[in-house]
């Protein structure tokens, strides 16, 4: 059986994980969503075709995405210190998580926006819509089911990434599993951590799927 202290640690770890995932997911979305839309609309033959922007932004996104997360955490410690004032703790861990989440979200948003039928953009142009109106009234609403699915995927990935920020004292369930389950050799703690993480991911995924289904009006039964 788990001792009350361990249960307290599990609850605190869960709260820390939720805190890190929620904040980095939210800020990552604020940064990644516009970048993803811009990447989609500046591509070849798209609404605001702009090779220079597309290539540079694409390269920045790829650079971040190709860096293994554990390396990223350590590599940007000076930046983390600049933003969070410290490089240790849950708040500090949010910085690398956000840096990893934003480009990931940008790519999933880009894909979702690209999926929108070109004919809809053409129809809006024929109505005299401005590029901004096309993004707001056509591309974003039509891409919403894909964006929701992409954000769900990002949240699940963030849960996984958050387990690594124990390396910088980030706390959370992953850190608990490593320190108590592995280093102190308490297999029951490791098992509890894994079960809580599985349940958490299931809840995130099911909620995301439910929302994506709700906003998707493409396959309605008549």
């Amino acid at each position: 059986m788990l001792s009350p202290q361990i249960i307290d640690l599990l609850i605190k770890g869960l709260i820390d994980t939720l805190h890190m995932v929620a904040v980095s997911g939210a800020i990552g979305t604020l940064i990644g969503l516009p970048i993803g839309v811009m990447l989609a609309v500046t591509g070849r033959g798209e609404l605001l075709q702009n090779f220079a922007f597309n290539k540079v932004m694409g390269a920045v996104v790829n650079m971040t995405r190709s860096t293994p997360f554990i390396i990223l955490v350590v590599a940007i410690i000076p930046f983390t210190r600049l933003i969070a004032g410290t490089s240790i703790g849950t708040n500090a861990a949010i910085v690398p998580l956000t840096v990893a989440a934003a480009p990931f979200i940008a790519r999933v948003v880009e894909n979702a926006v690209r999926e929108v039928d070109r004919g809809l953009v053409e129809a809006a142009q024929a109505m005299g819509a401005t590029p901004f109106q096309i993004i707001r009234k056509v591309l974003l609403p039509e891409a919403l089911p894909g964006i929701v699915a992409g954000l769900t995927l990002s949240a699940v990935s963030l849960v996984g990434y958050s387990a690594m920020v124990g390396a910088v004292g980030g706390g959370g369930l992953g850190d608990l599993g490593i320190r108590y389950g592995y280093q102190r050799f308490l297999p029951e703690v490791m098992l509890a951590v894994v079960i809580v993480l599985i349940v958490l991911v299931q809840i995130v995924q099911s909620t995301g799927d439910l929302i994506a289904r709700r906003v998707n009006k493409r396959n309605l039964k008549s």
Partner: protein, 350 residues
Amino acid sequence: MITLTNIHKTYAARGGGAPVHALADIDLSIERGEVFGIIGRSGAGKSTLLRTVNLLESPSSGSVTVDGVEMTALSAAELRKARHSIGMIFQHFNLLSSRTVFDNVALPLELAGTPKAEIRRTVEPLLDLVGLADKRDRYPAELSGGQKQRVGIARALASKPKVLLSDEATSALDPETTTQILHLLGDINRRLGLTIVLITHEIAVIKEICHKVAVMENGRVIEQGPVFDIFAHPNHPTTRSFVDPVINRGIPDSLRDRLSPQPGLGSNPVLRITFTGAKATTPVISAISRQLNLDLNIWHGQIDEIQGAPFGTLVVEALGDQAKVDAAIALVKENNLGVEVLGHALPANH
């Protein structure tokens, strides 16, 4: 209403090949209130041509004028404003799946910054017009193809345009629905005096609602004029290939085998008499046999109606000597009907 002058559209070929001429030497003039059809096979350039009218495709050279406004001279902002008075409907409808029927029709008004109350006052009568008032809160996924196109038409009319562009609007629909949609378009043309430019690869669409037609091939307009004239006298082989299946100008193969270009022993001339317009009802056959005492053996015939005017052809074998045949030809011409000698029929046992 719409004037296209000397339109060219050239794409640079990928990989440095010869440039592609999507459109060349296009001159078209479309009158107010007209239903103007552009027909051609896929790749003929008709879709590109339609898109130059609202400048979704900008021509490499030439000018486009719609309702007195030279579209090709407008700034981006002016062009967007000019597009409010040009509606467009599409083969695949291009409705927003995330919006209800009402909100789809309201979209062009929202884009133009129309107040909510006025949007409702405009959209609701349009839904009545296209017969979808009961579907206003449905999503496109819940509608049939014909219903989707009705939403597309209502949406195109929402900004009270003067011109409606139709891009193969019935090509994805079954024949019955096609007829309904064409009737709706014809009705809108008459009731609202809307100028309609449509492109299609189906000659039946042209026959059904167009007043004038342009035939396209390889980026050029090869023939244009009133639908009746083009159907009655197609000049270009491509035009003929479009017209022939619906207006059977030919003669059956079994009879063609008996036809020889030169007169032979015991042969009789075979004439094709073309009935057009008001003269189509002239009793010329009985006049020939009565006045000239010339018997006509009817081989083949067809009377059809194009744009409300009768049109037909009759292929006859004239059973008489050359003098009588010449007199018969003169008589037909006197009645302003078309006549041509197709050949000479050899006796059946020959």
